[in-house]
Amino acid sequence: MEITKAELLSFYETMVTIRTFEEKAAELFAAGKLPGFVHLYIGEEAVATGVCANLTDKDYITSTHRGHGHLIAKGGRIDLMMAELFGKATGYCKGKGGSMHIADVNLGILGANGIVGAGQPIAAGAAFACKYKKTDAVAVCFFGDGASNRGTFHESLNMASIFKLPVIFVCENNMYGISNYQKNHMNVSDISDRAAAYGIPGVTVDGNDVVAVYEAAAEAVDRARKGDGPSLIECKTWRHRGHFEGDPCIYKDPKEQEAWLKKDPVLSLEKKLTELKFATVVELEEIKAAVKEKIDSAVLFAQNSPDPDPDDVLTDVYAS
């Protein structure tokens, strides 16, 4: 499988969009403009991008507390996302959800989720629906290394295997569950090894290499669409920032942090694009500038949007 120039450039645009969105969110949070918790995806952009490049609007994803990247990669609208971070009435959730609960069911985005590991059975269920309805749609579940220790992981992978569900479990192993280093929270180094417990394929890839992620996901998605059941893909990566904004990260070894910063997925892709002569530095700058403009206008949209009506507290509890 040869990745085309167009594909690579589109990966780049997505990754830059995520990066810029997140940098903007960090800036806004630091300035006291965003309420609540904010968990940023900076450093992990290649995972969502490489995986979602294999999906269409008919496919489903479940996301996590660290969800902005997944949503953007799956086609979520950044203006509605940004407005939601501000808690505005125009946001994806009308201000009811915030960063941890953004969703777009029409795009197959079944939500960020504040409960670690909760997306795993939900993704299995969405995949169940895809299969039940005899479509070739699939579901992708994003989750962390920490989440792979939750019971939901075990039950969902087992259930998906038994029912041959078209679901891809994508573990974003950034080596930490908050402050808990992978070595201290599990005794295996490759989380993909856990796939064997369910009789499904498991593979580990460099999560900072968008092409590697894309290719592994392509294979798993293809398998799922053909009716051959679920897979587990572990993407080794690193979060550049604290667990949430405000976390001073005292638990991280600065040397390790430094080493990983050198493996920045966006910079690596820039290097690749220029080396392959798919783009000049100037062209890349143009892409970045265009993205920045989009993000800035999303912020403007959000800031100019009205707050929700306080009485809206009581709507949307039940469907009628």
Binding site: Y92, C93, K96, V105, A118, A124, F128, N158, A319
Partner: protein, 323 residues
């Protein structure tokens, strides 16, 4: 009308809805060939096959969690949790996923799913297989809670629960599964949120649900002989709750006794008492009494279990204290 047991009636409801809507399916442990621990789903596997009657691993978290995902993706799952006692295993999926998805997403998701589960003591199944846990679910906004007491209600409320676009906990009492009664044939839907006066009366209102309706009726019968006319009101669904019917009845009788099998403290009886002590305070002529299980786990020995459960005698005693 047809004579059916409560279990047959709820199954009839499932069957009709499955025939009507191909998006409805049933999943759970041993719901297929085995037909459910109390035979509730017997025959459905033969009729609908393994794609729509799905045996799952022992994984309650994934059972309920998968239903949330399937519902959000357009299906209408019915899942069985073999005993209500096991709901703690999948409580996060109920509390934080099923119940809140719609709200958190700003109204942009629909989670139509039914969790069927048997409750109740009476067969010496002891502390982990005998509970009445409805109060957990009534404290979760976004969830509806249904507790039928008769075969007809079991059918009509099952159909309504399946057609509802929200997560519904449908609680079937294991001591009622074999109860016979007249059940309307064919389509029969009882709207959620409508209480049923199971017996008319003028001196005291007894609010009771699920198996306790029958103990309340027996008590009312006995009380009638002593000249006390008790009205037995079955809310049938605790959420939505038919508050107006309760207040109307108390307006007439001026006295209220609430009967539930759940343990006393934090039971749903407290909620009903609180509503009436606020909105119906001026109607009341006497304290509000609750007849419930005591604050203890359900014991095994039949001797203990009998003393544990609310009884006709305890209801009669509570009613008489009001006169």
């Amino acid at each position: 009308m047809k004579q059916m047991t409560y279990a047959e009636a709820l199954r009839d409801g499932i069957r009709l809805e499955m025939q009507r809507d191909p998006h409805v399916y049933l999943a759970g442990e041993d719901v297929g060939i085995f037909g459910g621990c109390f035979g509730q789903t017997a025959g459905l596997y033969q009729e609908f096959g393994p794609e729509r009657i799905v045996d799952t691993p022992i994984s309650e978290t994934a059972i309920v969690g998968h239903a949330v995902g399937a519902a959000a993706a357009g299906l209408r799952p019915i899942v069985e949790i073999m005993f209500i006692d096991f709901m703690g295993v999948c409580m996060d999926e109920i509390l934080n996923q099923a119940a809140k998805m719609r709200y958190m997403f700003g109204g942009k998701a629909k989670v139509p799913m039914v969790i069927r589960t048997p409750c109740g003591a009476g067969v010496s199944a002891a502390a982990q297989h005998s509970q009445s846990l409805e109060a957990f679910f009534t404290h979760i906004p976004g969830i509806k809670t249904v507790m039928p007491s008769t075969p007809a209600d079991a059918k009509g409320l099952m159909c309504a629960a399946i057609r509802d676009d929200n997560p519904v906990i449908y609680i079937e009492h294991k001591m009622l599964l074999g109860l016979q009664g007249d059940v309307p044939e064919g389509e029969y839907v009882i709207p959620l949120g409508k209480a049923d006066i199971k017996r008319k009366g003028s001196d005291v209102t007894i609010v009771a649900w699920s198996a306790m309706v029958h103990k309340a009726l027996a008590a009312a019968e006995a009380l009638a002989k002593e000249g006390i006319s008790a009205e037995v009101l079955d809310p049938r669904t605790l959420n939505p709750l038919d508050k107006d019917s309760i207040l109307n009845s108390v307006g007439k009788t001026e006295r209220l006794v609430i009967v539930h099998e759940a343990t006393r403290t934090g039971g749903f009886g407290g909620e009903i008492a609180a509503i009436v002590a606020d909105e119906g305070f001026d109607l009341l002529n006497a304290p509000i009494k609750r007849v419930t299980a005591p604050d203890a786990p359900v014991p095994f020995s039949p001797v203990l279990e009998r003393n544990y459960l609310p009884s006709e005698e305890k209801i009669i005693k509570a009613v008489k204290e009001l006169f």
